[in-house]
Symmetry: C2
Subunit: 290 residues, 2 copies
């Protein structure tokens, strides 16, 4: 049986799960749609308590062969990669046979950005008969809707900051850089690269505490957007209650993410957190991107 | 008497001095050229010991009127702004009469980037009969020369990283963002914004210590470039022995700056520091920018 999106409903879905709350949200959404899931949580990234409710098999990094064997035994044909991942030091990986076999292509990709690395691993799995899907293809309800979540909305000044940040992220897109920036009163305060969004927000909080930011507390926006040429099956920007807390701690007015191009795992929890923190969270229709 | 660069040699040069070693290097170079200097060190930024050797008058921030009176009494016509500055919280400034008079234009500029703020203050001084020059116009020997300083040179891989960082800085130029980025093995590790170069380099050191950077120690380049539309009288990127130390601590291979578009206050000290830290420091001829 095949849906409009081309998803084979008959086989259980293999979810290779990193950290954060998104993998479980995806697994629940897929189960609600009537499809069975098998989780493959990655040791050191995924939360053990969260995966307990699902059929699961732990993987260490670089255990492509173990995954292949277990996924076949479970009857899986489709794979989704979802959740946060830390880029490990290459020399720390203990590779199994399939990983070694995929190594030349992984090494070539490792010199490029993360996108190329994941796309490359996906092509490797596809050579072995699997299909790699995006989380948003199997659980479209996890995508950020257009408009505000929670009760606050961006002011005109916030909207100008959002536009500037989106223009900046479009300019940096070709460089396979981070997916977020902070702009306050037209001034670019931070651009995310290898450090990740949370660390970038903590930097803003520190600069503000040191009196190094001219814009007053309660101004400025965290903006997240997918990279222009990103393979959308991987690493769509995600926000959650923790992003809301870090944004409030950084003294910003709110968060803007691209509607349909960002994952919001728990919209109800996010709305509650945003209202409590007195910040806005808004999905932007960028036209080009959605 | 007027030189080719249009500098009026007859009047002493007023140097409004921020932090770091560059103001003194400029003052010494100007004195070597036979012109008298009067330093106006800014309290909290300039180093008291360093300015002792020169005629000087301390300024607090927002004391444009005091500066005007003293500079006129000293017979100064030309002004140079040089040295590092921290952007103060606006509400902490205690403004004198001229600063208040310039305030509407300063406030308008404050919403833009630092460039606009300084250009705006410069126009204010020009309204009062002064001429604002760039440090490189009065002391061209402080500009970075083309080629390596010290004995190491960038490898081919380093040169590819330098090219990628320069392309990135060209893309971010229109956003009046920081003037530096770190690229290692084609991967953008950090982009500077409000935090400054030293803080960005410390971030790389932290990420490396946490095993979050795939490129091995001894790869990667710090690249600094002036912003494309920058008013070159202000805030040309500067490097010194401390930049070298932070770069080495971040585990990078070296530093590349735009030749003729960056200030290197003490080339001999920099060469010694670079050789000791086993990193390269190179001036790049970017064609377009020099």
């Amino acid at each position: 049986m095949t849906t409009a999106a081309g998803v084979q409903q008959a086989s259980p879905l293999a979810i290779i799960a990193g950290g954060g709350s998104v993998p479980v949200a995806v697994a629940q959404a897929v189960e609600r749609s009537g499809r069975r899931v098998v989780l493959f949580p990655v040791r050191g990234w995924a939360d053990p308590a969260a995966v307990e409710k699902f059929t699961h098999h732990w993987l260490a990094l670089a255990q492509a062969g173990r995954f292949l064997r277990l996924a076949r035994a479970e009857g899986c044909r489709d794979i989704v990669f979802v959740g946060t991942a830390l880029r490990p030091p290459f020399r720390s990986l203990r590779m199994d046979w399939l990983t070694l076999r995929l190594l030349p292509r992984i090494l070539r990709a490792y010199r490029g950005g993360d996108d190329h690395l994941l796309s490359s691993i996906a092509r490797g799995f596809e050579d072995y008969g699997f299909r790699v899907l995006g989380a948003h293809e199997v659980a479209p309800e996890i995508l950020m809707p257009e408009g505000p979540i929670g009760s606050l909305r961006p002011s005109e000044r916030d909207q100008a900051d959002i536009a500037r940040a989106l223009a900046l992220l479009t300019a940096t897109g070709p460089f396979d850089i981070g997916q977020a920036a902070v702009v306050a009163e037209n001034h670019v305060l931070a651009v995310e690269a290898a450090e990740g969004t949370d660390a970038m927000l903590r930097r803003i909080a520190d600069l503000r505490a040191a009196g190094r930011i001219a814009a007053p507390s309660g101004t400025g926006v965290l903006v997240k957007a997918p990279k222009p040429q990103q393979d959308r099956r991987f690493d769509l920007p995600a926000i959650g209650p923790r992003t809301v807390d870090e944004t409030a701690r950084a003294g910003l007015a709110g968060i803007a993410v691209v509607a349909g191009g960002s994952i919001v795992a728990e919209p109800a929890a996010l709305a509650t957190a945003a209202d409590k923190a007195k910040i806005f969270v808004v999905g932007i229709n960028t036209g080009r991107l959605t």
